[in-house]
Amino acid sequence: MNMATDLAPTPTRPSRLRGLTKRWRTLPLAGRVGLSLVIFWILAAVFGRMVAPYEVGAIVSDDVFQGFSAAHPLGSDYLGRDVLSRVLSGARYTVGLALAGAMLASTTGTTLALFAAASGRWVDEAMSRLMDAMISLPSKVLALVMVAAFGSSIPLLLIIATVTYVPGAYRIARSLAVSLNQMDYVQAARARGEGRFYLAWSEILPNMIHPMLADFGLRFVFVVLMLSGLSFLGLGVQPPNADLGSLVRENTSGLGDGAPAVLMPALAIATLTIGVNLFIDGLPRRGRRSDGEA
């Protein structure tokens, strides 16, 4: 969510904290729950390894697929490793990769869209058709081919996530930019003689931030699910490291016993994605209160 603070017009400094508490108060209950979940997972990603009770790869229990216990709060996995430690470490990969991927996709898409809207018709047409072509590629298949060709690595996963979700972000940003381009205030700036890039950067972009932020949240969820899917297939983050998706996969044999080792990572993915969605839905939408009297 760094994008918001970087790009939105900076509010006056002293009022920022008060602004945040005010936002929190205007957030509906579901939004608060969502935000809390998101913050929880971000904290888990950042500080998880420090508070984890055991080494990630260490086999610390003789008993596999153990249930909840004081020594292993979330049980042990199929090799007898501590599930809590592994989930905390997996969160780092899932949240970090998804955040970076979604951020790259959203900023690239928005930048390209603004460039297309600011440039003439031909640039716009060419870029839009190229993006349409990219949208038509099935993302999972593309990912499979790329992993097969280059071998799985963290940078490659990031590139896959970005390439897959740039066209969607571009589409949304471009349609926003095109309609904002027709607004009177943009016309007024144009009549003043402002250059295209000033129009795109100063007049159009600030009014796109809110919808693009919502879009960013959705893309984040998509990337989480895609990475988890890839890891579940064994093509994502490679052992000994593991993201939440790989944790689910490696422990599937515990499913029959209802072992926490398989349920907990799945629950982690669910709470993360649902939390982001609840938070986005709770964000105030512009224009909702503009229903004044005629």
Binding site: P9, T12, T26, M183, D184, Y185, V186, Q187, A188, A189, R190, A191, R192, G193, E194, S202, E203, P206, N207, I209, R286, R289, D291, G292, E293, A294
Partner: protein
Amino acid sequence: MSPLVEVRGLSVAARDEQGAPVTLVRDVSFSIPQGEVLALIGESGSGKTTIALALMGYARAGCGVAAETLRVAGVDVLSLSAAERVAFRGAKVSYIAQSAASAFNPSKTIMDQVVEPAVIHGLMSRQAAEAKAVDLFRSLALPDPEGIGRRYPHQVSGGQLQRLMAAMALITDPALVVLDEPTTALDVTTQIDALRVFKKVVRERGATAVYVSHDLAVVAQMADRIVVLRQGEIREAGGTDQVLHAPSDPYTRSLMAAARPQVRAAPAAAASSETTPLLQVTGLSAGYGRPDAQGLPRALILKDIDFAIQRGATLGVIGESGSGKSTLARVIAGLLPASRGQVLLNGQALAPELARRPREQLRRIQIVFQNADTALNPAQTVSRVLGRPLEFYHGLKGAAQQARVAELLELIRLPPAIAERRAGELSGGQKQRINLARALAADPDLILCDEVTSALDTVVAAAILDLMADLRRELGVSFMFISHDISTVRAVCDDILVLYSGRTVEAGSRSAFQAPPFHPYTDLLVASVPEMRRGWLEETPVRRAPAPARVAAGGSLCSFLDRCPMRVDGVCDVTPPPRVRLSDGSQVLCHRTERQLAAAGAQRSEVGAR
């Protein structure tokens, strides 16, 4: 007999963003006897629509309605269950909204939608409802009453659509009709027809009606009684004559005063005609779409326009929607390149395209848009909105820029604290002032004002007009004032240009526009402005143009041909009209002689005076 509508102690409250309660309507009481029309009048935010909607048992999301008594046609509206309310609305009470265009579903035929209330309430069979609809179409003076139902909403004009919505509202023979600003979005020439048929239908059917409006002159034609509202409270209530002629409340008096525009023209800057005019436009044509073989766009909006604006003078451009008046402003500002003709600023030709005009030329001409809500960037503070042109044209930065912003705010009579607000935190009038200030920041010679007062309440609009007059006096800026309202234009402009479908049909000085002779279209415009007295509507003669002329559409024939009540068959539909200079100095595009035009105008005003 008890009155049809009885309202006692009606209050409507909502909560603002912080959750604090806000009272929209406070302790309002009135009653309407069977067959009478009650007008609710007030500015935006006065609660007039909220009250009207409460009569239907409807409150906008988040609003709560409370009343001691709220009875409509013997029904206690507030105690209805959801199912009873469904049966009540549309059958007992019906609603005619301001914008018919957005009230109709574009994908269904008109007949489907007009009969819908009767059919879904099970009041009539589909066939009976259709027969009744055709009846209503006829009494609403719609063309082709049998066939119009088969059309889709986009195939009829705005005025016709408004009348069709009236048909939809009346088809169930409701006890009460709520008309919410039904003619506000219409051109004056269309409004008068709509008012006429509304009145006729209401009288014929003995319907009881609530007429919501901000326009006293319109209300004077329709209502038996008037309730004046301000900020959710009744300021005055009484018979139409009493409220209009002997208003007891100071607020009503201020409304009346604002509705009659006073002459605000500054002494026309002693512009001697020898000097080069500030702006001269010659043979200007422009439009939208791909250019054809002659270099003219497919949809030609402006045809061969000539005019000049002297330094310090104000030119009024008037015409109905679609006449090309906004396009004219866009062409002069360079937003739409002209396809023919020239625009000279101080004798220097301006490039048609914006990109090829030097910044200095751009600075001299500024444009102010109609809709203040969309003309200010919601993401920018006022100081940024005003600061940017200062930086862009004059290189002002930092403290010097902020000092100039403060000066500009003072110039437009706004407190300096407003500089840190964003557009969403300003009122409509404040936004329009900032809009003007942004143009002033460039220190321009000419400001193009596109309907700058149309979306504002009368009192607020009057204040903006005063401000413009002051600016002319203090800064010597010239204005091009675009409007659809001839009385405003006559009050503020030195010269006036009347546009009709992209052609100048009349051009002259303000004094020439005070009395006939007029071009027939100007005459129609002047005659269609409602006067603030009862009976005006009845006294104003219905002016039907003869059946539409069916001629090979010659591009240069008179464009007003089909609607002209003074058409000369065999002349007007054959030869293009000449441009005639009348003795009062104005130019008219018409075949009729000055004497004939004067006689027609005089006859009308005589009928009006009787």
